[in-house]
């Protein structure tokens, strides 16, 4: 049983998805889905422990050994990402029943859980697999299911948002596919480990360079790197609240994992950063992304959209840290992966609470909510402080490492831009605080009550995690340090 864990991680949600069709009532469905995702969470915990104890786990699918069959390969990076995705998804799923009862028609609940689990299976599959083509397949599974999830949104704009995401996402996927195809052409293998051994022999060839460009840009589109971010704000804003939380907290993290895996393991850090202009491209786009997206967040009227733009900015931070190509930079990226999942998870779940009570997350609706929904608003304030990077929140830890990495590299102007980004974050968070606490409540809002406990509890789990990992970061830092060293050491 223990030996089968790498595949169980993916199979459980994948099989649970069609089984949902057999379950009748919505509440039972929720229970079932929760069970499946809790199982993935437990499995990922065990996997992380195993990896920490005995190193990388290899698993050959169907008993076919590596170059012929598909190999699953769990090292520290995989285990860490699996844990992030499965834990955050489980916490988000806790709120699902309450939230979708308010936002979706009864007859769509079944579809929602099926697609949600498929999306989870896709994301876990991407992380677990050691095969480039298998990765593409799982990428499509998670992408197609997230298009569906977005299209479930109440408003009609959800359909256009999903359709545009579908077109653009398919474009990105085809870029990735072209990249993988080109690599297969020159090396004759799809296994990532084999690729990493064979690519250095042909790295002078233009085909490899082209493959790299296609692949990286395809992934950048998936993770909404500025200026390829246009699909993201509307997709987040019009999707059901639970879906926004899922996408914001986990989906982009998975895309960043793909990027890390290809840059550092498959192509090797040396090739990516010395032969190719990756550093220049990522740092320029990163700075532009941080500033532009933060400023755009300031001007948004819809709070979901505001946080969506803030996500674009936060992703740009991770790309900046990645571009440093140093241990501390990578630690910053990896820490922010986890920390951003915590903050955005907490924020979007809190927004789900607002949506539950008000049916809208327009900024004007927030007037006076500080008194009506104190716990929800407190969650937003703490999440916002974490976004800004105040000490004692997780945001501070990753910003601190990012600044350290920038100073180590001697990139002084970058440090200033990073601080400027924090100031912009102060502005957009302050807009919400000002409206919620300092504006008089709207006339019809006297009856608004605090969000129900089913929504508040998971939100506050994440909020407290924000504070806990901000005070005691020894676990995350230990894991990310080892991971970063492994990645830079080039070991697969």
């Amino acid at each position: 049983m223990i030996a089968q864990l790498p595949i169980l991680q993916v199979i459980v949600p994948l099989l649970a998805a069609p089984c949902c069709l057999l379950v009748g009532r919505s509440k039972l469905l929720w229970f079932f889905a929760l069970l499946a995702s809790a199982m993935t969470f437990v499995i990922s915990l065990v996997l992380l422990q195993q990896v920490q104890e005995s190193g990388t786990i290899h698993y050959s699918l169907g008993g076919w050994s590596a170059p012929f069959g598909i190999e699953y390969r769990i090292d520290l990076l995989n285990a860490y990402l699996l844990l992030i995705v499965s834990s955050i998804t489980s916490i988000i799923l806790l709120t699902a029943h309450a939230s979708i009862t308010a936002e979706l028609n009864e007859n769509k609940h079944k579809l929602f859980y099926v697609v949600f689990l498929l999306c989870l299976a896709g994301m876990l599959g991407i992380i677990a697999t050691g095969d480039a083509f298998n990765l593409f397949v799982f990428l499509e599974i998670s992408a197609l299911s997230s298009y569906t999830l977005i299209a479930l949104g109440q408003k009609r704009q959800a359909l256009t948002a999903a359709f545009r995401y579908l077109l653009v996402g398919t474009l990105g996927a085809s870029f990735i596919l072209i990249g993988i195809g080109l690599m297969y052409m020159v090396t004759g293998t799809l296994n990532m480990f084999d690729l990493s051994e064979r690519l250095p022999q042909v790295e002078e060839s233009r085909t490899v360079v082209t493959a790299f460009s296609f692949l990286i840009l395809g992934v950048c589109l998936k993770l909404a790197l500025f200026p390829l971010h246009w699909w993201l704000p509307n997709a987040y804003a019009y999707a059901p609240s639970v879906v926004s939380a899922l996408l914001a907290a986990t989906a982009t993290k998975v895309a960043i994992y793909i990027l890390l895996r290809f840059i550092f393991t498959v192509f090797g850090g040396e090739f990516s950063f010395t032969t190719l202009p990756l550093q220049e491209i990522l740092s320029v786009l990163g700075i532009a992304g941080v500033l532009t997206a933060s400023v755009m967040a300031i001007y948004q009227q819809n709070v979901k959209q505001l946080f969506a733009y803030s996500s674009v900015a936060q992703i740009a931070y991770m790309m900046l840290a990645l571009a440093m190509n140093s241990t501390n930079g990578l630690i910053a990226t990896l820490l922010h992966l986890f920390n951003h999942a915590l903050m955005k998870g907490a924020l979007f779940l809190a927004l789900a609470g607002v949506m539950y009570r008000l049916g809208s997350v327009e900024l004007t609706q927030f007037a006076g909510l500080g008194k009506r929904m104190p716990w929800t608003m407190a969650a937003i304030v703490i999440g916002g402080l974490s976004l800004i990077g105040l000490p004692l929140t997780v945001g501070f830890i990753s910003k601190w490492y990012l600044l350290r990495a920038a100073l180590e590299n001697g990139w002084w102007p970058l440090a200033i831009f990073i601080l400027l980004g924090s100031l912009l974050a102060v502005v957009y968070v302050w807009r919400i605080v000002e409206t919620a606490y300092f504006s008089p409540a709207k006339a019809g809002h006297n009856q608004i009550k605090e969000a129900p406990l089913r929504l508040l509890l998971p939100t506050w789990i994440l909020v407290l995690a924000n504070l806990y990992f901000g005070c005691d970061a020894s676990f995350t830092i230990a894991v990310t340090e080892l991971t970063a060293q492994a990645l830079l050491g080039g070991a697969p």
């Binding site: 002078e204 390829l228 009227q301």
Partner: protein, 566 residues
């Protein structure tokens, strides 16, 4: 001992927590208990690094007890005690909590042994103190509080940035003596400078303090700037630049204070002037000068607190604070008048009042080190202080023309707080050793010798004479910025004219530059808004074609750059 030993900020935080959940008379008891418990707790603490934490890979020392920090620790407990007594009648949870947390933060800051803990308490001070301004709950005070907060937060950010640089340069976060070399030390210096109201960086003080509540201003005047003085005394003693900055700080506020009508704003300017004396002392950096600087900080808390309290009482009882609207109050507020006069005498450094025993230390130190010009500037500033704080404040509020206001003396708790401060002013003035034995360095300094007393008395007499003469001749328009006796009428008239023309030109140029700058800023913001608004080109929902175009452009760039490199 029968009390647990806690970091000095903890008693205040714990009490704040209890106050949050209590009502009625219990709050009063709790508030009074806070400084007493705190002082007892501080008395128990031994010297040394008492508490060390490791955060990530940083060594933090949030509790360092030595003579300098203990001195400020006692000062802050004393200040918070009379401030709390003064504010006992206030039934506003926001103010009560803010003042407790503010005191806690100030205490935390002076006992921080490393820069990162200092930064945390630094920001906590900013965030808690601003509520004392907002608590007045007017549109003006809200705007002014925001400006105040902006300055404080910028100071905090500079401190954080400086800490980062300093750590990078020295590999240590310990907050000890730093010479003014390297980016880190300079950034920290500026962070302290903002809180210490260095010239050009001082506007938050004169803007924010007069807009706080009657009791809030008393708290504000006691802590923020004194923490900055502590920071400078700890980090940059003997930096020569501080002597000149301090000298400018003693002189320039005098002109503003003379023409200002809002009496609490006059006091705010005079606060900068007093800070100047401390900064000069720190800049000189000898043991005598440093003793003088911190002793003056101690005395300043007492007499400036007393003056702010008396003006707060006037504001509370009459609802007015402008010099032109007040006057003649001595008839119905005799006790307040008397107490205000004690504060005025102290700030003017009358012999037998506490201002004298510390100010003369700084001035003697300046002479000892051969800074004659600085000494002269300080002398001029002393005369100015006497004029605007010693005479103008009591004169316009309590005497001058009768305004017809017939308010009574304030409630007993306010009077009691003022009596405590006034008694201490006198006690320290008469028995200076009370204060001297607490100082960080041992000193054999004697304030009461013939030359000191004589020089100071002469100075005061002539300054008083100047005021009297001007007033009798009816030559004392409130806008006139000078009280020099040896300048004749024409010359003063001429000077006034030239001054007003010159200031007019400067003012206009300044206005013009500001307007141009503001216009440019507005244009820039409009431009930013134009592109970043939801309907702007960057944030508008783009067509799929455009998105495809962008990825194509990026692909072209990436391929092009790669092939050039190959």
């Amino acid at each position: 001992m029968w009390l647990p030993e806690l970091p000095p900020f903890m008693p205040f935080m714990i009490i704040a927590l209890f106050v949050f959940f209590s009502r009625g008379p219990l709050v009063t008891v709790l508030m009074l208990a806070a400084p007493l418990w705190g002082a007892l707790n501080l008395w128990q603490l031994e010297q040394g690094l008492l508490w060390q934490v490791t955060l990530v890979d940083l060594q933090l020392m949030p509790l360092r007890v030595d003579k300098l920090s203990t001195f400020f620790g006692y000062l802050f407990h004393l200040a918070s005690f009379f401030c709390i007594v003064y504010a006992l009648h206030v039934r506003d949870k926001v103010q009560q909590l803010a003042c407790l947390l503010y005191t806690a933060a100030a205490l935390g800051a002076v006992f921080s042994g490393d820069l990162l803990s200092l930064f945390i308490f630094w920001e906590m001070m900013a965030l808690s103190s601003v509520f004392l301004i907002w608590a007045r709950r007017s549109a003006d005070s809200y705007a002014s509080g925001l400006r105040y907060l902006a300055y404080q937060v910028i100071s905090g950010l500079l401190l954080l940035l400086g800490t980062l640089f300093y750590w990078q340069e020295h590999g240590s976060l310990a907050f000890t003596y730093m010479s003014l070399q390297g980016t880190g030390a300079w950034l920290i210096f500026f962070a302290f400078g903002i809180k210490c109201a260095f010239p050009m960086l001082h506007t938050w003080l004169t803007d924010g303090y007069p807009n706080a509540t009657a009791s809030g201003t008393v708290f504000l005047s006691a802590f923020t700037t004194k923490v900055a003085v502590y920071g400078l005394a700890r980090g940059f003693p003997g930096s020569e630049i501080l002597i000149y900055i301090g000298a400018v700080m003693t002189c320039f506020p005098i002109f503003y204070a003379v023409i200002e009508n809002d009496l609490r704003q006059v006091l705010a300017y005079s606060l900068i002037n007093q800070l100047g004396f401390m900064v000069v002392g720190i800049g000189i950096g000898t043991e005598l000068a440093l003793n003088g600087a911190v002793a003056h900080a101690f005395n300043d808390v007492l007499f400036k607190g007393l003056l702010f309290m008396s003006m707060g009482a006037v504001l509370q009882m009459t609802g007015r604070i402008n010099g032109s609207e007040l006057g003649g109050l001595y008839k119905t507020m005799p006790k307040t008048t008397l107490l205000c006069l004690v504060g005025a005498a102290s700030i003017s450094a009358f012999p037998l009042f506490n201002g004298f025993v510390s100010k003369s230390m700084v001035m003697t130190a300046a002479l000892n080190q051969g800074h004659e010009w600085i000494w002269l500037a300080l002398l001029f500033a002393s005369a100015g202080v006497f004029h605007h704080a010693g005479i103008k404040i009591p004169y316009f509020a309590f005497f001058a023309h009768d305004s017809g206001i017939r308010s009574q003396d304030p409630p007993n708790n306010m009077l009691l707080a003022m009596v405590i401060a006034a008694t201490l002013c006198l006690a320290i003035g008469i028995y200076p050793n009370l204060l001297y034995q607490l100082l960080p360095f041992t000193s054999a300094y004697q304030p009461y010798d013939v030359s000191h007393v004589l020089a100071q008395t002469q100075l005061l007499c002539f300054a008083a004479l100047a005021f009297l003469w001007l007033n009798l001749k009816g030559l004392y328009p409130p806008e006139l910025p000078s009280v020099n006796l040896d300048v004749d009428w024409f010359y003063r008239r001429l000077l006034a004219n030239v001054w007003s023309k010159l200031s007019n030109i400067i003012w206009q140029t300044d206005q013009h530059i500001r307007q141009v700058f503001l216009a440019k800023l507005k244009q820039l913001l409009a431009l930013v808004a134009k592109y970043h608004r939801p309907s702007g080109i960057l944030a508008r929902a783009q067509t799929v074609g455009n998105m495809a175009l962008w990825i194509a452009i990026l692909l072209a760039c990436s391929l092009g750059l790669s092939f050039i490199g190959l």
